[in-house]
Amino acid sequence: MTAARKTVFAHITMRGGGSTFYRKNLYRLYGKPVLQHALELCLHAGFVDEIFVWTEDEEAKEVARIVGAHPLNRPRSMVHYFNGFHGVPEWNENRCRQAEAIAGGTGDIQLNLNCNNFLVKPETLRAMFKRLVEEPEAMRITAMRQIAPGLCMVNPNNGYLMPFWNDIHTAEAEHPPLYRMVGASIADAVRQGQGKTRGLYQEVSVEEGFDFQTEEDVPLAEFYLGRRMSAAGEAK
């Protein structure tokens, strides 16, 4: 089997609630739920055979159906990350078993996309996919976004700020580059079982690495999305 013939499944894991922004994934931006923007990203990537949304939320399942994705049932006991009843391997097994029942397989390659990262561009996913399949030892490719230094944290001992990624003796530009992992990765399930494998990384822009987490992110999402839609002649 050649790389081009491998089956590619996209998986979006989401829940209807949300601790930082309630029902964030169903918040409508330019008339569409955030989930739909993420699903359309998978569609426009051009290399995905099937898209699955693992969720307990009926409204989210309906959104999945609208774009032709398959909703998978996320058991109530697996909605919370750390309830102690199930580990992540069980999550994966649950959703993959359901996907297998629908598509007749689990997919050779999996695109895992976090709804928060719906502003990754389809062409970036394509570039990631191309790199993954062309690099024989590559097991996974993950999007990364560079962030500026000059960070601090609250000192737990006294409540005041203390430097975290700061060297007061060097200019900001000379600080070792710090990156943030973006919730978009593509993994080759076949190669994961092989002995000699390695991970790849794809640097993305600040805009593509945008992470939609809180209500405060709504204006920024509108800014980026509106500009992108205007460029494409779609903004309303």
């Binding site: 962030i147 700020l161 990156y179 992992m181 509108e222 800014f223």
Partner: protein, 227 residues
């Protein structure tokens, strides 16, 4: 008690796509920063320190007196508190010479022009409430899962626990060059700094055309919401 509002403008920061004179929805970036200081109810005097000749040629900006500082003053190029601390120490010297040193300094930054007078007021009160802190500065939160790039394809976790919910990872912040300062405490060997969350919008730092466009969007959106 005298409260002095300050803003610094480095000549070398001019010409990188945006400058202190770049207009933003009816006012320049510097005017916006100084206006916030002026609207803050407790500021007795406003000063802009600069080595920019064009700016020095003006008597005032938005009601702030313009004062000269030599180029060397601005050359200490480090991030985080110490840069501002260093600058403030020298600003204190200049203010003292001009007989304008206050017991409290309020510092604005033309690169973060969306910080409001109300937020400056909050920083002022946070500082006044604190019995130890030398400064109260604006901060906004930053997501965890940070990695140090070791080589083209190698990343090392610097602030990350992949298996953990990211909300369980201690919060990191980016600090702003905007805040309230107690000069008497600033001279302590290790002056403490209190962080005051300002939110993503007010914490926006103008670095380039992209961030300027975002600032414009924020202002227009706020105006549209206000009707």
């Amino acid at each position: 008690m005298k409260i002095v509002g300050l803003c610094f403008v480095r000549a070398r920061d001019v010409g990188a796509g945006v400058s202190f004179d770049t207009p933003l929805e009816g006012a320049t970036l510097l005017e916006r920063a100084v206006n916030a200081l002026g609207q803050m109810p407790y500021a007795d005097e406003l000063h802009v320190f600069t080595d920019h000749e064009g700016l020095l040629a003006r008597a005032t900006v938005a009601g702030a007196k313009i004062a000269s500082l030599p180029e060397w003053f601005f050359e200490f190029n480090v991030p985080f508190f110490s840069k501002e601390q260093w600058l403030l120490m020298r600003a204190m010297q200049a203010l003292r010479e001009a007989k304008a040193l206050g017991e409290v300094l309020l510092v604005a930054d033309w690169r973060t022009p969306l910080v409001s007078a109300r937020m400056l007021e909050t920083m002022y009160h946070k500082l006044m409430d604190d019995r130890v802190a030398a400064r109260a500065v604006g901060t906004y939160p930053l997501d965890p899962n940070l990695f140090l790039r070791m080589s083209e394809e190698t990343f090392f976790p610097a602030w990350s626990d992949i298996g953990a919910d990211r909300q369980s990872i201690p919060q990191l912040y980016r600090s702003l060059s905007v805040g309230a300062v107690r000069p008497d405490r600033l001279v302590m060997p290790a002056p403490e700094t209190r962080g005051v969350p300002v939110g993503r919008e007010q914490g926006l730092r103008i670095r380039d055309e992209e961030s300027l466009a975002l600032a414009r969007f924020y202002i227009q959106r706020r105006a549209a919401k206000a009707g």
